[in-house]
């Protein structure tokens, strides 16, 4: 292979092509600054920052909005946990809900239901999916596949502007007479049909959110299939791209039935139809005057037809993030990459035929229950394959315990616990005792909270330098990790014990009214609530760290010594463009891909890692010269 030409720039040796690149970039930046705030592009502020069509900025918009909603959902949960830990106690902070919901600072049961329904809705639909897919997906996928932007940039912008108003409508529902939605995030009829006005707002908000998801998923799929770089075959994708690809198919095909169901429920509430209302319904002693003939189970079927694939939407991008961090942090390729890819595709496919395991207790017959139990057991296999591959990827690795790596490593056992506790729930017989108990809450929170959200945190620490040119403070990152890790287990682990003891979910007093549950509730709830408050406190260093560095970056204070590829990564978002990436078009020239995504410590190569888009492994620089941090070469670790 040919030696790359080196030139001397001042006191440094630099590769000639790197030097030329840096010079071009410097000239471009100078021209941008010369031309005023908008450089040579003269985009008015509103087109550049509000209605942007640049996937990177849209990703950041999604990110900020989603993080705000996550914080809001978390605060709702804190209020709930105050009530659960010390039922009926007056809290000053509860007064923020107003006199109608918390007279004298004591939370009313109806208000607890509102908090519960909106906590779930906000976390899932306004928080995690927009963060995982809208923020991380939007920002990284075009960069990782070597594309200048998404296939449909304007559609991307419209997707965000369906999400944000949808979120606002959801928030506005708090102001509706009678309060917001309070029939669970699952909105089961008949309760949801006879509920107060807030439920209608919830349904309208959902229609906006579903539209946003649909448009986004079309964009992702077309971008990945059509705009991937020359030489980037499917099996050379970074695993993150595979995860986003399958996730987009789930969003595309599974959301419409929920949209249909939402329309039907809207008709029931607003037009007086009886899609979900059976005949002869009596509410508070008064018989309803509707036509009847409807079926509440119809809603459940349609809802869970989406909501089960939805949980894989919640986990797959997280697995993608963890995979990227682990490959990078162990300095070796992922173990079983091919198996992981096929497992992901199989998982996506199977997720469409397991939905009724959420309905084991609706009186379904044994044959149907057995069918769904079987498919549910089968779907655990690809999850195990993916998790095992990630664990095995650690073996023999040269692990760098950076902050993102801590979160990624913690994800593995946490998702393991979440997944394993799903097994008794998937078995119809065991589910008889565990359905609608705290066991379920513990199970899904383990997968989503120390699972997905930890992966999201890891992703933020990992890709923050890419988006801003600054690293988040490492010390406070570790503080954030350790306190969160301890507290989050303290909140959710006792839930398994509570559930096994028979404490039902959605009880405003945490089980204190039931003799069989009182003791365990009294023993565990206060402890869990204290841990929840600890978890809140643990987020403070993160919030400060995040905003401090984000604002500093926005003001132009880049990290001088950081370079474009501080983690020494092989994937194109790091190695083929600057940090932050070039404002429009991402790359100087569209990259061409010559190798797989994780060529770390390739046997026989002198270079410690080889980026995907490099045709030949870079030669190490001669002794006596120092290397630019951004060059894709470091001396191989011996």
């Amino acid at each position: 292979m040919a030696l790359r030409r080196q030139i001397r720039v001042g006191s440094q040796w630099m590769y000639a092509d790197e030097a030329h690149k840096a010079l071009r970039e410097a000239l471009r930046v100078m021209e941008d600054e010369k031309g005023g705030e908008h450089g040579g592009h003269h985009l008015p502020w509103i087109r550049r920052y509000v209605f942007s069509t640049d996937h990177k900025w849209i990703g950041i918009q999604y990110g900020f909005t989603a993080l705000l909603f996550l914080m809001l959902g978390f605060c709702l949960m804190i209020l709930m946990r105050l009530q659960l830990g010390w039922p009926g106690t007056a809290f000053n902070v509860m007064k923020v809900l107003g006199e109608s919901r918390a007279p004298g600072g004591v939370l009313l049961p109806e208000a607890y239901n509102q908090l519960g329904a909106m906590h779930g809705t906000i976390m899932i639909f306004l928080g995690i999916v927009p963060l995982a897919v809208g923020a991380f997906g939007n920002y990284l996928v075009p960069l990782q596949i070597g594309a200048p932007d998404m296939a449909f940039p304007k559609l991307n912008m419209i997707s965000y502007w369906c999400y944000a108003p949808g979120g606002l409508i959801m928030l506005a529902s708090f102001l509706a007479p009678g309060g917001t939605a309070q029939s669970g995030w699952t909105s089961y009829p008949p309760l949801s049909v006879i509920a107060s006005q807030g439920q209608t707002w919830w349904l309208v908000g959902m229609v906006f959110l579903i539209t946003s998801s649909l448009l986004g998923s079309v964009n992702f799929i077309v971008t990945i299939v059509q705009l991937r770089a020359k030489g980037l075959s499917y099996m050379r994708f970074p695993f993150f791209v595979h995860a986003q690809f399958v996730t987009s198919f789930l969003l595309l095909l599974a959301f419409p039935p929920l949209e249909a169901a939402a329309v039907l429920q809207l008709m029931d509430r607003v037009a007086g139809t009886s899609f979900f209302l059976p005949s002869g319904l009596v509410v508070s002693g008064q018989a309803l005057t509707n036509a009847g003939g409807g079926n509440p189970l119809l809603w459940q079927h349609l809802f869970w037809f989406l909501a089960h694939p939805e949980v894989y939407v919640l986990i797959l991008p997280a697995m993608g993030i963890v995979a990227e961090i682990i490959a990078n942090g162990t300095r070796k390729p992922l173990w079983g990459y091919k198996s992981m890819v096929f497992a992901t595709v199989f998982l996506g496919f199977m997720s469409f035929v397991v939905w009724a395991h959420h309905m084991f207790l609706t009186g379904m017959g044994t044959t149907i229950s057995a069918f769904f139990q079987t498919t549910t057991m089968i779907i655990s296999i690809p999850s195990v394959i993916i998790l095992s591959s990630l664990f095995l990827s650690l073996w023999g690795g040269s692990i760098r315990f950076t902050t993102p790596m801590l979160f990624a490593l913690a994800f593995l056992p946490m998702f393991g616990i979440g997944g394993l506790t799903g097994l008794p729930l998937g078995l119809a017989a065991a589910d008889i005792h565990l359905h609608d108990t705290y066991y379920v809450i513990g199970h899904f929170h383990y997968v989503v909270a120390p699972g997905t959200i930890f992966a999201m945190f890891g992703g933020i620490y990992y890709w923050f330098p890419k988006a801003t040119g600054r690293k988040l403070n490492d010390f406070w990152g570790r503080v954030h990790f350790w306190i969160s890790f301890v507290c989050i287990n303290g909140v959710f682990f006792p839930m398994f014990a509570q559930g096994l003891a028979g404490v039902s979910r959605r009880l405003y007093d945490g089980g204190m009214q039931y003799a069989h549950a009182k003791q365990i509730a009294a023993q565990t709830n206060p402890f869990m609530s204290i841990c929840a408050i600890g978890l809140l406190v643990a987020q403070v260093p993160f919030i400060i760290n995040f905003f401090y560095n984000a604002i500093a970056a926005a003001l132009g204070h880049r990290d001088e010594g950081l370079g474009s590829n501080p983690w020494g990564a092989t994937t194109m978002e790091w190695a083929a463009t600057t940090s932050p990436p070039l404002a429009h078009g991402n790359f100087e020239v569209l990259p061409v891909v010559y190798r797989g995504p994780y060529e770390y410590n390739v046997p026989g190569e002198a270079a410690e890692f080889i980026p995907q888009h490099m045709p030949a492994a870079p030669e190490p620089a001669p002794r006596g010269g120092s290397l630019l941090p951004s060059t894709a070469v470091a001396m191989r670790e011996n």
Binding site: A16, D17, H20, V225, K230, F249, L253, A254, P257, N295, L297, L298, H301, L302, F305, F352, V353, A356, G363, M364, G365, T366, T367, I368, S369, F371, V589, L590, P591, V592, P615
Partner: protein, 125 residues
């Protein structure tokens, strides 16, 4: 400095000649396009006839419910096939589109199994 990527400008003209109405070829002769238009008219006549047959059978003859369902759905499927195959040129589309649609059909079947699964499991069975 030569940049291997600079020379890349993949796929401008694709001269794949497929059958009737290959929607992705860009250089059909006017003759080919006109012959496609003749096909469209033929398909239209077929659709009109099939509509008349469905209405005649179910409404005119007032077939019993179960027979009506079968007859109407079979005829509707044929009409659907004609619209999808010729007007939407699915018969000469590329693999990637077929892939998406086959996946959709499979999940559509799952969706339609929903009422079946509901009725196969009456309470207490």
């Amino acid at each position: 400095m030569t940049d291997p990527a600079a020379a890349v400008e993949p796929g401008v003209d694709v001269h794949e000649h497929a059958g009737i109405g290959d929607p992705n070829a860009h250089h059909h002769t006017p003759e080919q396009i006109r012959s496609e238009m003749r096909v469209y008219i033929t398909v239209f006549i077929g659709l009109a006839v099939l509509t008349a047959v469905t209405v005649g059978a179910c409404y005119g003859l007032k077939l019993p419910v179960h027979t009506a369902i079968i007859v109407a759905l079979i005829i509707a499927s044929i009409k659907g096939f004609l619209v999808a195959g010729f007007f939407m040129h699915l018969l000469s589309e590329k693999k990637v589109i077929y892939g998406v649609l086959i996946l959709t059909v499979i999940f559509f079947i799952f969706l339609m199994s929903l009422p079946i699964s509901h009725h196969l499991s009456p309470f207490g069975s």
